[in-house]
Symmetry: D2
Subunit: 342 residues, 4 copies
């Protein structure tokens, strides 16, 4: 039987990507779309690329009758999300795509986001939404917190290696190259075509990016000790994609074997043959992750490169994957579309 | 029951796009993939974005057992295609994506392509593959000739108007802006990122582009008299998309009404509200066509703008749409994926 | 002796482009830079690419001592410009880059811009700044109105032809492809990299773009009768460039000869050999204009394609060219830099 | 008095960039342009963006009368360059832009390039062309070897730090993001717009890129011991630019002070205020280098980011800077053009 979902925050890129994915899903019906600032508009006005679909018009959140909804996606900005979720029925299944429920410790949340959390009790309840590592908890969860897109990418690189103890923990570096849709539909000068096209730069250098909080939480828990990595994001002139170049100490062959084993049954994660390197081109528009491992000429050093689509696997695709589990549907439904190339 | 298809010429962009579309089709199985120059390689080597699929390795055409094949797609360069098709079983259903069978008149073919046709009798047999206008013939055809991508775009703009007699026939101009994948995987200096990115230019100016032959054939047949339009293609720094800006004489409201009526039952063609203009962004990666009509401040003049994805609706999507008909499947199967935005 | 100039509106793209050009000019000194909203900041903060230059910090307009200034460039938004210029000394030489003084007729101004002009008497005084056609008037002018970038491009195509009477006046079409810097540093969704990159569309279709007012004024004056052309601008994913594809009736060879003759002594305008087509790539970052003429297969029809850099020749380069004349300097000083390719 | 130069290999990007820079130099005359494969063609045919210049047509190398030439630039592919230079007069001043004379040790050359060097004695004679560090030797040299563009970028980051002993030598990582013009005008599938635009990837991972040879040679000489760094280049969808993100151990403030001091008198190298990060946007089309230093949240770790234009400062701009020195001209002549933004 078809499941009914609502999308709260349907006028942003992650909301639109959810609609794109669900449009050919087959077992999920979009029953309501909310976007307070654009309530009353049709989706064809807000996102003309969805014009061919028969979608409900945008409404405000309080106009939705949640008794008819099996699951709600919250694709709102952080801070807004926790406030809105506070007003929703307490038994409603929710996949939150914001940063609000990723960090379990209220102190860590405040450290990285600057404000006291408005829904502290739900912070404890929320399951971290990295499907491949929290599958059972997600299937049983009421509230799932979608991960940061950079945080997801880095964890695909490192989690199996930290868990297996095959890399050093004190000299990990992740150098990430991020496409611009990760910044959302924000109106900022540096996101204009004229200022982004044809150039690139680092930002949030020196360990100040908020996704560090997720790395700290997850890697330290896995290792059973504090793990602090170096992480530098860069903005590159492309719309979709994250490429993470990881520098670690360890045996490259063992690292490759560990990753290949860890992901051997995963439908979306491909570990390339040893020595091959992935490209964001080859995962664009899809829910797939490509991981490549190479040794360095310096013995005991390895480079691990991971590519995914920030908007799909890094956000909305992950959210749908989690929703499938929460709704008792086959996990891959609606997500097997091949990447778009060229 | 699942239909078995072969793709001949699977190492180019249109072959790869066919595989992308078929990968979630459900009723078609890819039984063989041929590419003589890359025979022996896996598709993961040739197109790593298809790595997650379980596909047959590339073979040469003569290695395929066509008795097991329900339909073959030929995605070869023109001139090569007619030679290869000449060697295939005469009862094999074929969708040809090349230019070889688009022009029915051998003299016209020679005029535009420079050589005598090697399969003249099949030229007469082939059905022109613009699905929306040749649906019944295609369903009954053995050999369907996929249209030129520019030719398709221009015909979506003009066919219903010429048929209805609501525009002048002697002052039609189509100014087209074409993305680079239309040139295929050719190694030419002007297709390099360094020489295409950040600039744009016209080419084949003055009525010399080969897709003019298709316009001449189709529009003249529709009008019952010779129709010659002006058509200027431009190369723009994008990978997918054709935007055709059409300048015609006629009543803009009548033109809009004629197009809206003509396409009212079509699953893939959307006529926008009067005065709205389409964008290639909003059809990218999909089989949809968006058409907008606007009046000019000069009375009796109208502008008709049509957008589609050259690689999908302009080529491989159209081919699959035709194959669905030829195989007795629902026409839209595998083709309802929403555009990818951003 | 070095001339002192001020730039009012130095925080936008045209202001920055002026600084870029003047930085190697040699005979002009930048004495003051104003930008009310960013007063107090250094140019290195506002435009880090100018970091190596020793420039005055940004001030408000009223902080400038104009008695020390030989000429002021006004690179402000339209409507703002007329108000600011109203407050400047009445004997100050000014090159205005806004739209405010392009239309001489207050009624035409109001028709296209919607408001009553705040400096009607200066409208009459201002000289239209298309250097190649108003050279003597500009050299003697106090106030010069920089042209619209599209308006400049179309006039390079058509002025000599209308003046010589070698084309029909009632069926002229200019289809323009414009890069995004023409929209300035405005924060709008459709100017974001995520929404512009990889797609393109027409805008202001049907004769509603404001640069039509300039075409009407200039072409009608040249022809001695009303001339109304069709003009459709398109936004393409590039940062600099305008490519105008012009469709006219007339003899292509005569058209080519007329243009070649008209521009034979011009330092910045290159008429290509007959049948060649220009590209925006080949004028990017420069003050050069390339014009190509081709005949059509339809007798009596010709296509004229003109390419220039909207930010340089279409705006700031033109402004500097005019300022050179107004200051008694060699017209080409600071403007002979070759295009940047790739 | 004007110096006469020849450019051998004028049909590639570095040759064209040299012509662009020299076109407004004022004290250098282009007396001959050679490109064996395109001899007989005009530069307007090969690079239409240089159409406005009065340049000699392309000839073969042996058609040049070198007795009239003060200095020759060799912008040929590596291996070809050493053969051609072998045939030139032994007293001719040469700036070579290829890789052929960068490595002084023939064994190192063979290790990285695979072949025995054809001009071993000149290898010893050649001066390494990183102007800021070999200024006096270059001024006195007959043959100067232009550096690799990545090699230049990494050395701007690291040389003063290694020389001053303020960073660890055993854990240096340079993660570089390189624009596509660095690959030259090569016809390869991965350099096509369709395959590069909108995606990015690493290449030559694990210490296999040839510019490693230059790092090994130069850093080991500076340190007085073997220094091996990790270096990973990435190809990003832009035409000009290298951004190097360097990860080192050391005190960030001391590192910043050391770099600021080292480059305090340099006309082209800008060390940004502590904590700021450069962008390739802000050096594009220019000879400038921007360097930013940031501390990490992990004590004792610093990130140093360096941006330059690979084609200008990384190649042809550097070559002209060296030629100015060799010809007794002011070092900065022709090189002070501001970056092009946007």
């Amino acid at each position: 039987m078809t499941k009914k979902i609502a999308i709260i925050g349907a006028s942003g890129y992650t909301g639109a990507e959810l609609i794109r994915l669900i449009s050919t899903h087959g077992q999920i019906e979009i029953a309501a779309l909310a976007a307070n600032s654009k309530a009353g508009q049709s989706m064809a006005e807000v996102f003309p690329f969805l014009r061919h679909l028969d979608l409900p018009d945008l409404v405000t959140v309080d106009q939705i009758d949640f008794s008819q909804i099996d699951l709600a996606f919250c694709a709102l900005p952080h801070k807004t999300s926790q406030k809105v979720i506070n007003t929703l029925p307490k038994d409603l299944k929710i996949v939150d795509l914001s940063a609000d429920f990723r960090l379990r410790d209220p102190a860590e949340y405040k450290k990285w986001y600057g404000n006291d959390h408005a829904a502290v009790e739900m912070q404890a309840e929320a399951v971290y939404g990295l499907t491949e590592f929290y599958r059972d908890e997600i299937a049983a969860a009421r509230l799932v917190a979608g991960t940061g897109c950079n945080a997801a990418t880095g964890q695909f690189t490192l989690r199996p290696l930290i868990a297996a103890g095959v890399i050093g923990l004190d000299d990990i570096i992740l150098d990430m190259k991020c496409a611009v849709s990760g910044a959302g539909r924000s109106l900022k000068e540096n996101l204009l075509h004229a200022e982004l096209s044809e150039g690139y730069n680092a930002y949030a250098v020196g360990g100040t990016h908020r996704h560090q909080g997720e790395f700290d939480q997850e890697f330290s828990a896995l290792a059973g000790r504090e793990v602090k990595i170096q992480f530098t994001p860069h903005l590159v002139p492309a719309n979709r994609g994250i490429l993470s170049t990881g520098y670690v100490s360890g045996d490259a062959a063992e690292i490759h074997a560990t990753l290949a084993e860890a992901y051997s049954g995963e439908p979306f994660v491909e570990v390339l043959p040893f020595g091959e390197t992935p490209s964001t081109h080859h995962v664009r528009g899809s829910n797939f992750v490509h991981i490549g491992v190479t040794g360095d000429r310096i013995a005991g050093r390895a480079i691990i490169i991971t590519a995914l689509d920030n908007l799909c696997k890094g956000s909305s695709g992950q959210a749908l994957q989690n929703a499938n589990l929460m709704l008792g549907l086959e996990e891959t439904t609606g997500l097997m579309g091949a990447p778009v190339f060229p």
